[in-house]
Structure formats: C-alpha cells, structure tokens
Symmetry: C2
C-alpha cells in the first residue's frame, strides 16, 4: 500500500488556562493509504508549531515539510516504516521541532501498518515470541496547595482503586525543607502505608545538587519510590553529579527528551535510574522503543510519560508492553473532556487494577471523529498569498 | 526602556532550490522599544515554523508564544536581558523549536540594548577590559560536482583573497574513498599549498567510525585543517568513539546544537576538537557566548557556523571576538542576493585579509528595510478564524 493522504488536526478545549495541564489541546495526525487503511497518532506539542512542520515551504535540501516527504511512500512492512521515517527526518533535519511534530506521524504509521498486517503494534516491534503483560497504573496528580489538600488528593487516588500514585509540582520546592517534607508526609498519609508513592519535583531545585540530595534523604523516610525531575531537564551534568552522590531514592527523568540522543544522554551521563519517555515528544513509538532498549541494556527502569488522550497512552504502552520488568504505567486522571473522549475504547483497569493492551491490530484504540470535529480548531496558513494548511485538514 | 513591539519576518528568494544553500530564505526579528531604539536578529531556521513560535495560541503554562512573553518587558541592562530570556524560554519550554525561533530575538535584544547603552555587544558580554581582535576569515563553499569544478571553486576563493577555505557537501561521501580523495586533492590544488584547507563532510558517513577514521587519514595527506561533521549530528557516542581512536585531523562539529546542552554534549562526550556554534540556531548570542566558554575551559577551538547574512555574521562574531586564540571566522561567500544585501554595511576584509567588528553600538550592522520589503513573504495564520500573524509583521 501507499500513503495516500496525510492530515493534521489542531484540537483544543474552549478555554485554555495557564496551568500545567497538557490535556487542554492536542495535535493529531491521520494517515490514509490507497488500500483504505487509516492510522492515527498524537503529539504532546504545540499544535500550531507542529502543524507548520507539515506544510512549511522548503528552505533548502534539509528543510522540507513532513507531508511532502510522506505522501506517496510505499508502506508494506516494518522496514518500509523505518525507511519512510529516516527519509522524512533527514529531509527535515534542520527543523528543530521535527521530532515533536513527527511523533504523531510515527504513531500513525505504526497504527496503519498494524491494521494492514492485522497485527498489534507490540508484535511488529518485538516479534511473535514476545507477550505483552499487564501494567500497574499509577495515578498522576498535582500536590495540593497545603499538606491537608495533598492528603485528600492522595486519599482520593487510593479510593479510586489505585495502589500507586504520583504527586508533583504545586508548592514543592518553594518553602524549604520542612514544608517539602510535610507535603510528602501528607501524601504518604493519604495514600496509605502499603501503596507506592512517587514524587515529581518539577525542576524545583534547578542545578542545586545538594538540595536535591537532601530532599531525597528526607523523602526516603516516607518510602518514596522515586524522585522525579529534581533538576532542570538540560542539567545533565548536575544529574550526573547527583547520581554519583548516591541519592537515597532513585532519580527519575527523561520526559523532556525530544530526540533519542537526549534519552541516551540522561542514561549515559545523567545517571538516571528511571527513564521516562513521552512517545509524543521524542519522535513516536520508534525512538520510544529504542529508548526502552537503552534502559534494558543499562539495567535501569523505563516508564512512559503520558499526559494526553488514550491514543497517546496506547502508543506509549506498545513501546514497552512486552517487558515485564517495566511494571508501572503513568495513567493520567482528571484530564479534559477532549483527552477523556478522544478514543471511543479507552484502556481500562481490570479487576485486579492492572492495565493491558487490547488484542486488536494497530494501536488497538479508535479515534472518534465526532470528537475530533467537536474540538477542531481549523487552521489557515498562507505564505505570500498561497494557502498551505487547508489541504491537510480534511474531515 | 520597555519592549514596545516585536515583529517577525519571513524573507525568501523567488525560487528555492533543493540544495544545501541556507541563504535562500531567512527569519528576522525586530524589537522596538518605547525609547525609539530598534534591534534586529536572524535565525538559521525554517521561517514559517519559527514565526509560529511568536504567535501560537497558548497550550498550557509551558507553551506560551514568544511575542507575548517579550512585549512590555523592561530592558535596561544585561541582567534584564538574561531575565527576559529566561522567562520567555521557561514559558515556552515545551516547544521544541523555541531555541531556533528565539535565536533571532536574543540577537535583537543584544542589538537594541547595545544601542541603548551606546556599547558594542562584545563589551556588554566580556567587559571593558576585553578587546576584540581581528579574525582570519575562511571562505565557505560547496564542493563542485567534479574534481575539476571543485578545483575551480577553491581557486576562486584564493583569487578572491582568502588564504583559508572550507569546501563541503556535494558529492563527498557518495562515491567511495578514491572519489573523496580526488575531491579533496582538487580542492588543495585549487587553493594552493600554503592556504588553510578545511573539509565539511556533511554527515557523509552516518555512524560509521571506521570510514570516518580512514577518510581523516586520507585527507591528512592533503594537509586538511579539520574534518567537519563526518557523522550524524546526534551520533555523539560515535563521535566519542572516533575521538578515542585519534583521527589524523581534528574533528569539528556542533553547528546543529539547538540547546547549550547539545554543545556541552559535543565537547564532553563527542570529543570534538573544534566546536562550531550557530548563534542563529542555539538560541542566540547568549548561549553561543556560553558555548565559547565551554571551549575555552576544555582547551579546544571555537568557531562560528554562519550561512546567512552579515546580520548573523556580526552576531556570531560578537560572541567570540575577544578571544584571540579562536582566530578563524566562517565567512560565507556566494550566497543569495537576500543574504548579500540584507545589511547595508557588511563586514569587510581589511588589507591584510582579516575581518573585525565595526566600532559601533549594538551589533554594528544596519538592516536595510528596503531589502526586507523586497524579499518579504507576508504570512497569514488564522486559528479558528482568528488572525494571529498579521500583528507581528509591521513594516
């Protein structure tokens, strides 16, 4: 089959609020083939900037838009997918944003190829002998403004049936050691002694290794499973220095990775113990799967970062579903109606609380085009009077 | 003074050809203040994708467009510039393209601040005791399609008065060892035995360390000063392996750096001996100057990468003009009329062939608004019917 159509869609809720909630808008790519197959993918990225990468005029041999590079390409097997991917990225190599933008296309390519071959994506990635296992979802939410609010949020996650929860951002890191300790103690209290508690510091300590080390020791008293992003995403040398000091809880990081090299850098030079990858930012399932391989070879943990719809959650899970040792799954709760309703068959928790991939071809989830229409923000881009974006938003 | 207007312009020549000539289009930012001062900057990046970063609707707290973050900010001194910069990048942290896009704004901020304070940018960067020295320009051009064409191009550079020249891309790496050797031999022949010859391989050998090592040995016979980008820009581990093998000519790389961490990665883990930074891609003069500091501390060489107008060339030079040890300057020749004519007072070679910064405030070069108008491609971007780009292209 050949790629017959590449469409890109900007979706958003009516009112965007300036908070750290990434579910308020999204960027989708749909790929259709001449055989009538269709695949979908989602990026965790600025929709307008990403859409521009699909229709920008060429600048020279290394800045060619993604739609032009994808249209007409033959896609029959995994080798074709890798070839298409390498060519499109090579022709857009001087567009810094290309990995964010291409993530949705990569995911859509895996989806449509799986449907064509009647295989789930995980099997295309890991072969017929591999078996996807269930994951333990952790509820991901923000710290409350006070320890009391934090306790209530953690208790709510437990009441919703989660035996693992991550709390992050909010006031953590703002008011000193005692305040931070009180927040984490309240989270533990609300969640219960037997649950897995994870802490996301949201870059709270910049490049300050000493404070990160001290907080890790303090949080360890409350049995914290990992301390996530205590330092800025590009402070790899500080992460490395922190690792060398042997922090009392494992350090997690990597969601910011926009290229496979960034993930490699976190592992090789940042010394992280838990590699967190967003398939919607690093360039899709292909590099997420490769990053999982880095974690396997380094003997560290791998987990998804996902704060979008279950289209993104399914894509993220295919990349590491078959590795039983990577047992956790970030499972966003409380997202927008857009994120909650985009697929008509979201991943659900089984009776034992675990989450597994459905046994269906491709990604195994179905984008509801009525929901796409409901949240669509049509984009018009004209350069010197020539309309460029209209042709890639056909619904 | 306060930032009163931020405008962004997409310029291009009429016919874009699919070759590795980055002067066929460009992206400019002009910053005007309430005191009537004006600064200009240029990115080496996709103009449309970059322009979208200045007007994209917000997605959440970490995706806010650059124009909104810059407008109204107070700019009186260097501390203000760093504060403005950090805030704008922090609010756009989840836009992968932000460093490419912000490069032009960072350069414009330095330009306008220098004009306001009546100081050249280099003095704002390096203090009153520093002195900018002359640089030895090397003519940068592409290999010809044949050794004969290559010889003619190198000879033309020599005839134009350059005693240093870089040739790159074209057929290098395509037709095997003998063909590569013949190209480099022809370049040496055309340039003359006493001139400095530099070779840019344009990622020719991917991640193939052995071939890169063999070509370095082969090119060393022709007295090549450096071998640039023999491997892919994100193949840092391969660069490190190449460095560990002791290649026969120094390896140069780094122009792809889109964040300061990328430059740090090339130095710390890629083992490059010549760090090449494009101020129009890494995020402007600020991180280019920081990357220069990395090279100083590592005891390696630093040189600009510039393939745009002399607005970019001046910006690049300010970042390292005061370090005499970094003696070379990439000096693009044979670019488009757009690149050649954009500033009315380009940097010129003195009688001894060297290039120095003019003794004028700010960047020291003047953008010709008639040329901007001549090459302008007006951009219209509407999301859900709301026009976003018109307000930032006032001429």
């Amino acid at each position: 089959m050949k790629i017959a159509a590449v469409d890109a869609f900007y979706l958003a809720v009516p009112d965007i609020r300036p908070i750290a909630d990434g579910t308020q808008d999204t960027f989708l790519v749909r790929i259709r083939t001449d055989t009538g197959h269709e695949g979908w993918g989602e990026s965790d990225a600025s929709p307008l900037v990403s859409l521009a990468c699909y229709c920008a005029p060429p600048s020279h041999a290394n800045i060619v838009n993604l739609r032009d590079s994808l249209l007409g390409e033959r896609l029959e097997d995994v080798a074709d997918l890798h070839r298409i991917r390498a060519r499109a990225l090579r022709r857009a190599l001087d567009i810094q944003h290309v990995h964010h933008a291409f993530s949705a296309a990569d995911i859509a390519l895996w989806d449509v190829l799986g449907k064509r071959l009647d295989e789930p994506v995980w099997r295309l990635l890991d072969g017929p002998a591999a078996r996807p296992g269930p994951k333990r979802p952790y509820a991901s939410s923000l710290f409350g403004a006070t320890p009391e609010e934090t306790r209530a949020r953690a208790a709510a996650s437990r009441a919703a049936g989660f035996d693992a929860a991550k709390l992050g951002w909010g006031p953590l890191g703002r008011d000193g050691a005692d305040a931070d300790q009180a927040l984490v103690a309240a989270a533990r209290d609300g969640l219960g002694a037997d649950a897995l508690l994870l802490v996301d510091a949201g870059w709270a300590w910049g490049t300050d290794v000493e404070t990160a080390l001290a907080r890790a020791a303090s949080f360890a008293e409350h049995g914290v499973g990992w301390l996530e992003e205590p330092l800025l995403p590009d402070a790899i040398e500080a992460y490395g220095a922190l690792a060398a000091r042997g922090p009392a809880v494992p350090i997690a990081a990597g969601e910011s990775s926009g290229r496979l090299r960034d993930a490699e850098d976190f592992v090789a030079n940042g010394g992280v113990r838990v590699l967190q990858i967003d398939a919607g930012r690093i360039g899709g399932i292909t590099p997420a799967h490769a990053a999982r391989g880095l974690a396997e070879r380094a003997g560290i943990s791998y987990v998804n970062h996902t704060f979008k719809s279950h289209l993104s959650l399914a894509a993220a899970l295919h990349a590491f579903a078959t590795v039983d040792r990577f047992e956790l799954l970030e499972f966003a709760v409380g997202g927008s109606a857009l994120a909650e309703e985009l697929v008509s068959d979201p991943l659900t928790r089984a009776g034992d609380g675990t989450v597994s991939l459905p046994d269906r071809p491709g990604l195994g989830v179905t984008v509801d085009e009525q929901v796409v229409r409901r949240f669509l923000r049509p984009v018009s881009i004209a350069v010197a009077g020539e309309e460029l974006a209209a042709a890639l938003q056909a619904l």
